[in-house]
């Protein structure tokens, strides 16, 4: 038998959303990407045993019970227009598509108080190694949701200076052999490099000033994982209580956004002044490949929560943590993904 190298792993997942949490997607609704991290989406089966039960005559286990399933995955990638649009659409949940190619996906967080759902769109996540006659791995996690994403932009010439990490959590439902999925062709991506950044925060254009050193921004849904196991949530094999429970819903919890950046500290830098005054303003982060492929995140109202004078490579810098706040009219975050790919999160 030949050794299996992890470079062989193929990953595809829902470009469109599932019909509901339990309905597996077909290949036509998924797209395939490469990734940077080695971690696999390993299903975890929680078991219990009868060691502590009385009436057996001893303290040793004699039987085990499958109780519940869990599965999660993390995607680390160089940031592209395609994965960026997909991540913000599935992480925020509310999407308006416009255009006829390129397509513009305007995404905002779901607002249950305004009638929106508390569940995010679901997708399937497939991993295969040597699919076909010599299959090593072929499994499909069904009912996954995006727990959050984190975008990092740094200084330097390489692709690693613009990355995205996406965390997915799942219902626990897994097809662990013979998914029947024919892996789609790899998606051609339009990278959004660090050099394309435009950045305006609280009234300051940090790129025009040539001051920005790095930034990081993201979103976390804090999905209520335990609440997914409710009476009647279902089993790995429907109707078979011995196969372990799965989640029947994934509702977001107390969501939170984040934005922090490091800039060169110059004469006239006003971050500390704005911290003391708790000045508020918008923060607009834009990365682009060309006119048809871009990602823009607009934090509708931020103020500074931490401002520290520090150094980066022996140059005086200021590290700023922003507090994204809810703007009474525009909400908290608007993400606009532009790409030639149709039907994302549809």
């Amino acid at each position: 038998m030949s050794t299996t190298r992890l470079q062989e792993v193929l990953v595809c997942f829902g470009k469109k959303k599932q019909a509901d949490i339990a309905t597996a997607q077909v290949a036509a609704d998924m797209w395939r990407f490469s990734k940077l991290n080695a971690a696999l989406a390993n299903p975890k089966l929680a078991t219990e045993n009868d060691a502590e039960e009385y009436g057996k005559g001893h303290e040793f286990p004699t039987a085990t019970f499958k109780t519940a399933w869990d599965v999660g995955a993390t995607l680390e990638k160089y940031l592209s227009a395609e994965i960026g649009a997909w991540a913000v659409a599935f992480a925020l949940g509310k999407v308006v598509k416009s255009g006829a190619g390129p397509y513009v996906y305007t995404c905002t967080p779901l607002m249950p108080a305004a009638g929106d759902a508390a569940e995010l769109p679901y997708l399937s996540y497939v991993e295969q190694i040597r699919p076909g006659a010599g299959v090593v791995l072929d499994r499909q996690a069904v009912g996954m949701a995006v727990e959050g994403f984190q975008i990092t932009v740094g200084s330097g010439p390489g692709r690693a200076n613009s990355k995205i990490s996406v965390e997915l959590v799942g219902s626990g439902k897994v097809i662990d052999t013979a998914t029947g999925i024919t892996m789609p062709a790899a998606t051609t991506e339009k990278l959004l490099p660090s050099a394309s950044l435009t950045l305006s925060i609280n009234g300051v254009d940090y790129v025009t000033n040539k001051n920005i050193v790095s930034l990081e921004t993201g979103w976390k849904n804090n999905i209520r994982m335990d609440a997914g196991f409710f009476p009647g949530s279902g089993f790995q094999t429907p109707g078979d209580g011995s196969t372990g429970a799965i989640r029947g819903r994934l509702e977001f919890g107390n969501r939170v956004g984040n934005l922090k950046f490091v800039a060169r500290f110059m004469n006239g830098s006003d971050e500390y002044t704005k911290l003391k005054a708790q000045t508020t303003g918008t923060a607009v982060v834009t990365l682009a490949y060309d006119a048809n492929n871009s990602l823009q995140l607009t934090w509708q109202q931020v103020t500074y929560s931490v401002v520290e004078i520090a150094e980066t490579d022996q140059i005086l810098t200021v590290a700023v943590e922003c507090l994204p706040m809810y703007h009474v009219t525009n909400g908290i975050l608007t993400a606009v993904g532009k790409t030639v790919v149709d039907a994302i999160c549809s």
Binding site: V96, K97, D116, N330
Partner: protein
Amino acid sequence: MNEPTRVWMRPPWGCGEPKEVEATPEILSPLMTAGWSQCEPPATEEEVTTNVHD
């Protein structure tokens, strides 16, 4: 960005009539935050006239 296209949005809770708006973040953000969602354009209803000559 290219020149904005237009999209149809329906009001929250299913109350009220859909409206067509420019698909710019400045216009969509307040609507989406207030619960408006994208919808299909309303079907154009043709006037049906009973043929009184039958």
